[in-house]
């Protein structure tokens, strides 16, 4: 603080502090607190707001346990409340997206950090970035076109002779979530790539060579030397991709099949279609807390500390 004042003067320091305080208080804490408070109140006609019926309770949170449906999970029949079903599938497929981005991003990050010649790096990074200059909505629609029944993907596969008949990608080949997983993986792969790339760049190349010199095959060098070093990067990439995927509304709306529900869509329906902001707020709170819990649990499992990710 004293350092800031000495460097920028009292006036500018006060502006900095006020802006940061405004951001945290007004733009982060206040709206979230408002949501939190709303989530405990019933949805009432305007005239009854503040009246005798407007009391705090957990009724909104209880709604998630309503409406049990019979469905199957990978062939196993289960009876489960419909919104919890959506919720669990969202968490599961977000985790799958995270795994997919990791599988794509790690080798690419290693290539960029240790194998590609330093002179080609700016070009390669630019090529990776250019698609990201297009808005997420446009990219989602582009994939909608790619995956559509008479779209370029089916045309290409037919031309190559891989398939005889077009595949209905949006309805799903393996599950009804195929299209969502593919497009989310595409959209968020860079959020996985860059933290891992940064982490591997900081690894001393001599350590990789030392492992090889001691007789280590390539996979063991990665398992014992590169991955442990890159773990904070992998963890922060995983947290980012998981949270972004689980929270995505646009991609599931554009490319999702009618059978694939994404939990943010459920929340959106409460807010927008039912106009029941209170229940929407309750669902948002549940979603936020469970996702945070899931992330912390995974970090515990892989022995990553929060301070590692902040690096």
């Amino acid at each position: 603080m004293e350092d800031l004042i000495r460097r920028y003067g009292t006036g500018l320091t006060a502006v900095f502090c006020l802006l940061v305080a405004f951001w945290i208080l007004v733009l982060v804490i206040l709206p979230n607190f408002a949501m939190f408070e709303q989530s405990f109140r019933p949805y009432l006609p305007v005239v009854e707001i503040g009246g005798p019926k407007d009391v705090y309770g957990f009724a909104n949170y209880g709604k998630i346990f309503a409406n049990p449906v019979e469905t199957t999970w990978f062939g196993i029949p289960v009876t489960i409340p419909i919104h919890i079903n959506t919720f669990l599938l969202t968490v599961f497929y977000s985790a799958l997206v995270t795994l997919m981005t990791l599988i794509f991003a790690y080798p690419l990050a290693y290539f960029l950090a240790k194998i590609a010649s330093p002179r080609s790096i700016p070009t390669l990074l630019l090529l990776l970035f250019i698609p990201m200059w297009v808005s997420e909505a446009l990219r989602a629609f582009a994939w909608y076109i790619i995956l559509t029944f008479n779209g370029p993907l089916n045309a290409l596969l037919k031309a190559l002779g891989v398939i005889d008949q077009g595949i209905r990608w949006q309805n799903g080949v393996f599950t009804s979530y195929d299209a969502i997983v593919i497009v989310l993986t595409y959209c968020y792969v860079l959020f996985m790539l860059f933290p891992i790339y940064t982490a591997i760049t900081s690894l001393d190349t001599n350590q990789i060579e030392a492992a090889e010199d001691l007789g280590s095959p390539w996979w063991r060098t990665h398992w014992r030397v590169v991955i442990p070093h890159a773990k904070p990067g992998i963890a922060s990439g995983c947290v980012m991709v998981f949270m972004l995927s689980a929270g995505s509304l646009l991609v599931p709306t554009v490319v999702g099949s009618t059978k694939a529900n994404w939990f943010p869509q459920t929340i959106y329906t409460w807010f927008n279609d039912a106009l029941d902001w209170n229940t929407g707020a309750a669902y948002s709170m549940i979603f936020l807390l469970v996702c945070i819990f899931f992330v912390i649990l995974t970090m515990r499992l892989f022995k990553v500390k929060l301070s590692d990710i902040a690096k």
Binding site: A210, D213, G215
Partner: protein, 360 residues
């Protein structure tokens, strides 16, 4: 088992730059061999070629008589100790040391035992469960040696591993390395730019400059009988005189130049080339009167007390810098600054040498 190494006409090009030019050397099993040279002379390139990280552009490298062309570093019987050691900071010491055994599928208990044995060998018992960051520079050094020894290599390759240590520790580790080499009998190839290190530890030294091996000989020979001016200058100080070489007789020749006529040794290989006269400062005596031969008058400009000896610098006619060492034996008197003295040397101690062997 230690193995010998043969480099046969080995060349290595990086683009148009030739890093190693036609290197030929035969290193015997169990030998402590050093490559000595300034940075950029190609010595690290040779080491990386032997360990397998770089393939030679031409020529053959044989380890234990077998051509290792196309063999990856993880398949070669060599162990490299990196300049920065490259220990694995996220593994405890014992896992560092036993990593090579882990790769070979040795079970955990055996690995642990072997790591502890090796820690004893390098005089660092009880460090097995520490992390790399908890060790001092010298201790890390020992762990790196233990890690390399764990895979029982036929050849140990050391890339200036002592350069990061302070003087006292460096001298201690020199003796230590030499002792470990004797105990294990493994062939050591040592890379250094420090002539003291190379001369003190090695059985033989290869002096390099600009990608070429200038001379391969025992340390004593390198110092006393350098084959050219580069070797003479790199492994010690010299007073150098230019001039024209006269007729050769009994391995001696005369050199006549602006500072007078001198007599010095000449080798058959040096005959017929452009030569200069080289004589070491410790072979240069100072006296008040001129000697019958090999004597130059100079004015003393600086007298530096070095402890065991006194270094006397002076200027001869034409601004020629000369240097002599006076032993601090309590008898010999060093001249004072500004005094005029004669610098004299024995013809048998002076050498007529060509310049470095470089690509034409």
């Amino acid at each position: 088992m230690s193995a010998g190494i043969d480099l046969e006409n080995v060349c290595c090009d990086f683009g148009t730059f030739r890093a190693v030019d036609n290197a030929n050397v035969s290193i015997k099993p169990g030998e402590f061999f050093s490559f000595l040279g300034p940075s950029g002379c190609g010595k690290t390139t040779i080491l990386r070629m032997v360990s397998g990280f770089i393939e030679p552009t031409a020529g053959a490298i044989k380890i234990g008589g077998k051509d290792v062309k196309g063999t990856r570093p993880n398949q070669r019987p060599t162990a490299l100790i990196f300049q920065n050691l490259a220990l694995f900071p996220l593994m405890p010491i014992w896992e560092n040391i036993s990593f090579g055994l882990e790769v070979r599928g040795v079970d955990k208990a055996t690995r642990r035992k072997k790591a502890e044995d090796l820690l004893k060998l390098v005089d660092l018992p009880g460090a097995a469960d520490k992390m790399v960051s908890q060790l001092s520079g010298g201790q890390k050094q020992r762990v790196a040696i233990a890690r390399a020894l764990a895979v029982e290599p036929s050849v140990m390759l050391l890339d200036e591993p002592l350069s990061a240590l302070d003087l006292k520790l460096r001298q201690h580790m020199r003796a230590e390395l030499r002792a470990i080499q004797k105990r294990t009998g493994v062939t050591f190839i040592y890379i250094t730019h420090d002539q003291g290190e190379a001369l003190a530890m090695s059985d033989r030294v290869g002096v390099m400059s600009q990608g070429r091996i200038q001379q391969i000989a025992a340390p004593r020979d390198i110092y006393d009988n350098p084959v050219n001016g580069f070797v003479a200058s790199f492994v010690g100080e010299n007073n150098i005189f230019e001039g024209d070489v006269g007729p050769v007789a009994d391995g001696m020749a005369s050199l006549t130049g602006p500072h007078g006529a001198f007599r010095a040794r000449i080798t058959p290989e040096a005959q017929g080339k452009a030569l200069k006269l080289y004589v070491r400062p410790e072979h240069t005596r100072l006296s008040k009167t001129a000697a019958p031969e090999n004597s130059v008058e100079m004015e003393v400009t600086e007298v530096a007390f070095e402890g065991a000896f006194i270094s006397v610098h002076g200027l001869a006619a034409g601004g020629k810098r000369l240097q002599a060492e006076v032993k601090n034996d309590g008898v010999t008197q060093a001249p004072g600054v500004g005094e005029k003295v004669f610098a004299t040397f024995d013809a048998a101690r002076a050498l007529l040498l060509p310049d470095a062997n470089v690509r034409g």
